[in-house]
């Protein structure tokens, strides 16, 4: 049985690339191949300029790995784990200690560093895992579902940290099942399903493929035709829905202000206004026929609160 078949990707140095897909899509398998934990049965892969099979040791020297089910020993303390990781990467003792302390501070674990990992919360474990992946300053960072199971605050912390690392020059390859994560963090997204890439590109370009944002306007009685006339110059009119006027706005949120001003000048009162944008899930549905996150009922667009 092939877990992954036909994955052909290239990640540029310095970018954040996200592998987005439902559970069982083959994300973890791909990461395990790229991090030399799994031998590919066909095809080839190069990470940081080295072949994962023939030059495995060089690959291991260049990568930092924080996998799903953080591989932490509950009986070790955070400090012990980071120091062990430094030793595993051959860092001289003093360097390892210094870097370890700096990283513990960076991820906010210096207070908890001497407590056993078994006492850490989920968010703390992920932060420790992330810190330990960085101790040898890798070129490429692999994160397998880095925020699965975390509360929103912890999730934000991780996102900030990943962005900061990328700003410092680290290439990041991450897998996720969360749209927002891919959308927010990634320079480019590869959408994977059943072992194949079904779409690839920047989040914006992918979403543009399946549709443009549109505004749903609820107007005071009887002004629908007037509104349509006013809006004709601003965007493509769409068939009305449930008494609301729909207009496609290519610029998304930035066009909302124009629309509101135009309607205001025409004296038309707007009772409700919703900006609907396509999401990466819409991209997924367009390519595969089902949703990434299984609990959605609607086929499509999600509401995004408009900021006027």
């Amino acid at each position: 049985m092939r877990a992954v078949d036909g994955v052909d990707i290239e990640v540029a140095p310095g970018e954040i690339y996200a592998f987005l897909g439902p559970n069982g899509a083959g994300k973890t398998t791909t990461v395990r191949v790229l991090t030399t934990l799994l031998r590919p049965t066909g095809g080839s892969a190069r990470v940081a300029g080295h072949d994962v099979v023939a030059e495995a040791a060089e690959v291991r020297r260049s990568i930092g790995v924080a996998l799903q089910e953080a591989a932490l020993d509950p009986l070790m303390t955070g400090r012990e784990l980071i120091r062990l990781q430094a030793t595993l990467h051959g860092l001289p003792r003093r360097t390892g200690v210094e870097r370890g302390e700096a990283l513990l501070r960076r991820v906010g674990l210096e207070q908890a560093a001497d407590r056993r990992v078994g006492t850490y919360s989920g968010g703390m474990r992920r932060r420790l895992d992330l810190a330990s992946a960085l101790v040898h300053e890798p070129e490429v960072l692999f994160l397998d579902e880095p925020t699965t199971g975390l509360d929103p605050v912890s999730r934000k912390d991780i996102w900030e940290e990943v962005s900061a690392l990328n700003a410092e020059g680290t290439t990041v390859f991450l897998t996720t099942q969360y749209l927002e994560e891919a959308d927010r963090l990634a320079n480019r997204v590869g959408i994977i399903d059943a072992g194949r890439i079904v779409a690839e590109g920047t989040p914006a370009s992918l979403k543009a493929e399946v549709g443009r944002p549109h505004l749903e306007l609820g107007l005071a009685d009887g002004r629908a035709e007037d509104a349509e006339r006013v809006l004709a110059g601003l965007g493509r009119p769409l068939p009305p829905k449930e008494g609301k006027v729909l207009v496609e706005v290519a610029g998304g949120a930035s066009d909302v202000a124009k629309v509101v001003r135009a309607l205001d000048e025409a004296g038309i009162v707007v009772e409700s206004l919703d900006l609907m944008e396509p999401t990466l899930d819409d991209v997924f549905v367009a390519k595969t026929g089902y949703h990434i996150e299984g609990d959605e009922e609607e086929t499509g667009e999600h509401e995004v609160a408009a900021e006027t």
């Binding site: 031998r39 020297r61 790995v65 591989a71 020993d73 070790m76 051959g90």
Partner: protein, 257 residues
């Protein structure tokens, strides 16, 4: 660099064992209790015709207690390695630029250290309760080295099983086997005074040779013959167990783990 890695992993193994009572108890607590009961209960055996010349039954039994502790340390180490595999800690090691076999050697370094701890514990215990090491301090050092090497040799078997099965409960379920091997050796009693067919097995069991080596250091002088028998047994078992560990490791890496 790899020696440093092995030492670091060994240090972790030792710390793990001290931090988890279920891993430590079989190495110190149970062998000590068994030693107490056996010396207290069977102590009059020294009166049996054919029993080797000893200052006391305790002197005779110390070697067996050390060897028992060491074998159980190997079993504990195997359990801990299986737990590492189950919780994915081994991924951390495999993704690092270290040799694959460091996984096994690190674990065995820890087991060797625990063997040394056990040896020192029973030497101290023996001295407190009236036994004496015939060969003195050099004898004690030799005992510690011999017991540590035994820990490595037998620990390799525990590691091999852990790597092959990846299951802590399977490795744990094998601890009765440790006792089977001990009962079929001269660990607890002179082979010539045991009942057949166990007695015959005990006379040729390599574990008997190893135990006799340690025992002679306690109760008399180490003869050349005993030394060679013990050394050959250790080498044989060591090579076998390390070879099996290597095979099990390769298989696990091949099939993805």
């Amino acid at each position: 660099m790899n020696a440093r890695v092995v030492a670091a992993l060994g240090g972790r193994s030792v710390r793990q064992t001290f931090r988890r009572p279920q891993l430590m108890a079989p190495i110190i607590v149970f062998p000590t209790l068994l030693l107490a009961i056996q010396t207290g209960g069977a102590g009059r055996a020294v009166d049996l015709p054919g029993f080797p010349q000893v200052d006391g039954f305790l002197d005779f039994m110390l070697a067996g207690a050390m060897i028992q502790a060491t074998l159980l340390a190997g079993n504990s180490g195997g359990i801990a390695l299986a737990v590492d595999i189950e919780m994915g800690f081994t991924d951390r090691l495999l993704a690092a630029p270290i040799s694959r076999f460091a996984l096994v050697l690190g674990r065995l370094a820890g087991t060797a250290a625990l063997g040394a701890v056990a040896a020192l514990w029973f030497i101290a215990l023996g001295l407190v309760f009236g036994a004496s090491i015939h060969e003195g301090v050099p004898g004690a050092i030799a005992i510690v080295i011999l017991v540590s090497l035994t820990a490595v040799a037998f620990g390799g078997i525990g590691s091999a099983i852990a790597l092959r099965t990846g299951s802590a409960s399977i490795v744990q379920g094998l601890f009765p086997l440790v006792f089977v091997i001990l009962f079929l050796s001269s660990a607890f009693f002179p082979a010539n005074l045991m009942l057949d067919p166990a007695a015959t097995v005990a006379e040729y069991n390599p574990l008997s040779f190893i135990t006799e080596g340690v025992r002679e250091l306690v109760i008399s002088t180490l003869t050349a013959e005993a030394f060679w028998k013990a050394a050959a047994s250790l080498c044989g078992i060591g090579l076998l167990s390390l070879g099996l560990s290597n095979l099990a490791l390769r298989r696990r890496l091949r099939t993805g783990g």
